[in-house]
Symmetry: C2
Subunit: 349 residues, 2 copies
């Protein structure tokens, strides 16, 4: 913890590609990062067998045995109750016990959230944990010209209060600041107009509270601003975030489908697509939110990164790196401070 | 009315292109359609002067004088109170007095909605009028292989009740049926999951009511399904519809921008773009909701079509055609019947 070495516990069994992807991602990272340890949690003999096939740094990797694994389509609560020592639960437990500084899973989203909620405490002043998604935009952000922005909550929770929205703004700002190296990320509320009076009662109230707070609050943004990347952090109720994120996914899907059809149909089009090369990739990137890193679950007292179920080795590696960066940057401490600064630890909480 | 000739009152002053676009659109249509009369409402001398320059059928067009016009950025209520005989108010009055069967305006959206609400009655069982938007999808709909679907409410109203959502389903179904020639349009509720239990309390309750109703109810759809075009009519609260529609607009804008940059940057990319031709247009079409027809305001006892402010002559012509089609297809009667069938005229209304 702090400035020294960081240990990340990785659920080695989760995700569509199972331990093929997770073990390879961890192995690659073990040879790249000097200050990072990884605990590979799951079916120890299977993980070891896979490790035997690929190069890795044994001083950076440790295999931790777990019993069972929650299937991608399983009912999360039921599965966790039936398998209390399964890989995702054990991953969370290692963090809760202080054996690791952050957890990563590419498995069942519901089970990851539940395992984290079972083993970690909610931070004071945060009424509900929120799932954030990183998505690509048309604008470059921060000193590294990052094309990504953050949106939260995308976890499909309903009835966000103004205090919930304010705490999401704090959490999103802290995360964005650490991960994208932005001193004071621009944070905005998603609404149906930029005026302070636009939106639900919760949005209007949150707007007022954020205006008088210490965050770099940019006011309200509209749907237009999501792909534009006008701000670094977009805050909205989970229901809205869920619909919006899935719509971006749908636009991407349709785009890819049309491009595929076009490339199959006409020699001229196939040649055109080939010549476009990078230009086409650029457009595709803008709608394909899936290929980018993990989604942080924010609001608990530990760092939790949910990698996408479809993650391959490279995406797993990125998610583990992001988890380590968040732990090193003291994400939890920054959220604690921000929540206190905005007065959320009082009667609202 | 009925099977005979239909008269459409057109606000000739509204829209970014003013009467240049509206008069030309009406003139073209006067020479195409045999069973349609158009009232051009506004600055009579200016309209007549413009008509002198272009070919039209004088037996199909009549100019009606009005005093003043609400600017695109004016405050709607204030402007209408100050100019009770302005073009959009006069357009609505002509319909209310039975001199026309439908109204069309490309002007200030708020003023169009207010003028309609001032002059028309809400239908029994409809608590609030809803603005619907036609948008392009990846799927072809109806017997004419229409690539468009309908979404409502996009008018940014908040706190839709279950009865509001049900009445929107009825209204959207009636409109889609007439305009896209679909016998029983597939109607769905936009939610954060397809299960009947997903979404806000209002969505869950509306789901139950629609299941037992007479519409072709397809259940809930997710954000993914919007660009896919899974259903013909997507129903959601105005706040959500507003964000979603503006986001589609933003994706389109970013796409066009990236394509422009690509075409400026590299000869190879420019050639690639040129070779793609139709394929590229296809992709662009999918995100560019603005180029398509008018948005109906549904729930009042008259047909109201709001054409986009940026409409040029062709879009105005399409909006007037759509208004005539809706009037001929007895949109209002169909909505009345649908609302009664779903029991909305009882205590809920």
């Amino acid at each position: 913890m702090g400035d020294g070495t960081v240990t990340v516990a990785l659920d080695a069994m989760g995700g569509d590609h199972g331990l093929e992807a997770t073990v390879e991602g961890a192995a690659v990272l073990s040879r790249e990062a000097s200050d990072l340890h990884i605990l590979l949690v799951g079916d120890a003999p299977a993980i070891s067998a896979r490790l035997d096939e690929i190069p890795y740094d044994p001083s950076k990797l440790r295999v931790v045995s777990a019993e069972g694994c929650v299937g991608m389509d399983a009912k999360p609560r039921e599965a966790l109750d039936r398998m209390p020592h399964c890989s995702v639960a054990t991953t969370a437990r290692l963090v809760a016990e202080g054996q690791a500084d952050a957890m990563v899973s590419a498995g069942n989203t519901g089970a990851t959230i539940l395992a984290a909620s079972d083993h970690f405490e909610r931070l004071p002043g945060v009424r509900r944990a929120a799932l954030a998604a990183v998505y690509p935009t048309a604008t470059r952000h921060g000193p590294h010209n990052d094309p990504f922005a953050l949106m939260l909550d995308v976890g499909a929770t309903l009835n966000a209060t103004s205090a919930d929205l304010v705490s999401m703004a704090v959490m999103g700002s802290a995360y964005s600041s650490i991960i994208s190296n932005i001193e004071a990320p621009r944070v905005a509320l998603l609404s149906n107009g930029t005026e302070a009076t636009k939106g639900t009662a919760a949005i209007v109230e949150a707007h007022g509270r954020l205006l008088s707070g210490t965050l770099n609050f940019a006011g309200n943004v509209e749907g237009l601003d999501i792909p534009r990347g006008t701000v670094d952090v977009v805050v909205c109720e989970g229901f809205l975030g869920n619909v919006v994120l899935k719509m971006l996914e749908g636009v991407s899907e349709v785009f890819v489908d049309v491009a595929r059809k076009a490339s199959g149909r006409k020699l001229q089009w196939r040649m055109g697509l080939a010549m476009l090369g990078g230009g086409l990739k650029e457009i595709r990137r803008l709608t394909d939110w899936k290929s980018y890193g993990g989604a942080p679950l924010l609001g608990l007292d530990q760092v939790v990164i949910k990698a996408h179920g479809r993650s391959e080795a490279r995406a797993v590696r990125n998610a583990v790196k992001v988890a380590a960066k968040a732990a090193k940057g003291d994400l939890i401490g920054r959220i604690r401070t921000g929540v206190t600064d905005l007065g959320l630890t009082g009667s609202d909480a």
